[in-house]
Amino acid sequence: MEEVVINSGDTAWMLISTGLVTLMIPGLALFYGGMVRVKSVLNMMMMSFGALAIVFVLWIIVGFSVVFGDSLGGNGIVGDPTQFLFLNGLDNADAAIGTIPAAVFIAFQGIFAAITVALISGSIADRAKFGSWMVFAAIWATLVYFPVAHWVFAFDDFVAKTGGWIANDLGALDFAGGTAVHINAGAAGLALAIILGKRVGWRKEAMRPHSLPLVMLGAALLWFGWFGFNAGSAVGSNGTAGLALLNTIGATVAALLAWLLVEKIRDGHATSLGAASGVVAGLVAITPACAAVNASGALIIGALAGALCALSVGLKFKLGIDDSLDVVAVHLVGGIVGTVMIGVVGVDVGLFNGGGTEQLIKQIIGAGAVLGYSFIATLIIGYAIDKTIGLRVSKEVEVEGIDLKLHAESAYEMYSSSRGGSSL
């Protein structure tokens, strides 16, 4: 680490990428916030902002060390939490990781942790106690995200000598977090929706998105931020970043078209919510694969993800699980599609692109391991919080509106604005 010279081009791009990735938090808040009813939009948005705050604090204290510290016992399960406790030795202007300042790498990766936790909130709209969500966010980040990110993102001899088992021992490819971020959050969202139960009136009353323009804006901001997420994961200003950026557009537009096509055939209408959802499904699916495939591979992955995610949104009704904003259908399904498809269309490694079945099997093992661990661990964490401080608001709070009852605010002045608002 000491001999490495900090490269100004790499550093500039990673500074920008960190800003882009941070924009994904309000992007997600708008994307989710627009999809819920008027009475709970603020709570929905607060869950994203709250997750960012609590997770990044933990990231500085111990999270970075658990992810990027030397693997305890060398078995690739969890990094040494004491090695970089409070970013020991790294939070100064001279420390470097790769060719960029350590501070930039730490900030960039810290937002990944925050966004992963924020993604989960989509499955528990309208009905989770805000304080309990914050406790969940802290515990989940510590016990699930940090170890899983160590498995996937900690390469040997990059930050520390020994890294995680998926990255080094198994050798599954996950460039920007199809497993650690999206399968992880999707499986957790499923578990938490099961623990929390259905919303009052689910499937009986209309739970329409209150503002589709907000959803579209949120999807657009997520897309913009995702350039930092994917191309920034090159940790350098180079050709890999360029390829990741190109694929982050190709897969996303293919997914948008595929989602709309499914809707047109199935429901008779191509909807704006479908377009926004297709965008996010494509972004999710290309996340692990954006540096492992060529442009046609990206189109295939995007189209497949758009179609499969669109077809998966109905599953929750069949299973009776109120995954309110389809975290499972978009992030779990999209994450699996992208991760597994590397083994099919990945350049030199994919089954149909010069490789055998070897990489495909590695990809399936990596995806399955993260899915299984996240689902079971989240069930346990969610159950424990529910039985101690309670996870769900009362029926009265839920029906009258979580914004008003829990946050003492309402999102909009819901009266005629012609005279500057109501005097009622």
């Binding site: 209309a206 739970m207 329409r208 998105p209 809707e263 199935r266 429901d267 008779g268 209408h269 909807t271 919510l273 479908g274 959802s277 669109a310 949104v313 109905g314 009704f317 389809d326």
Partner: protein
């Protein structure tokens, strides 16, 4: 004295207002309303989930008139609000005991 209440399609408000003004009506109260009748509701689809929306937006228009004018005013409204299609709305009249103009304290038909 009568209170004429009309539930009409929102896009017909301008026509009805003009017709009533032409007839000589000098005041009315208009509010947004929602409801359903024979027209029923409509369906919307979000991520493949179909929602039946029962309540359709309508305009509720209220006019106070002299009893002698009531039938004529109803005719004016019905003529202006009609499209011939389902969901055109309803008009009804109800008796009013008294009316007071707040500014002057005038009562009864003088306050119309």
């Amino acid at each position: 004295m009568k209170l004429i209440t009309a539930i009409i399609k929102p896009f017909k408000l301008e026509d009805v207002k003009e017709a009533l003004t032409a007839f000589g009506i000098t005041g009315m109260t208009v509010s947004e309303a929602s409801g359903f009748g024979r027209q029923g509701g409509h369906t919307e689809v979000y991520r493949g989930a179909e929602y039946t929306v029962d309540l359709i937006p309508k305009i509720r228009l209220e006019v106070l008139v002299d009893s002698n004018d009531a039938e004529k005013v109803i005719d004016v409204i019905v003529k202006a609000a009609s499209t011939g299609a389902i969901g055109d709305g309803k008009v009804w009249s109800s008796p009013v005991d008294n009316i007071v103009r707040v500014r002057t304290g005038e009562r009864g038909t003088d306050a119309i």
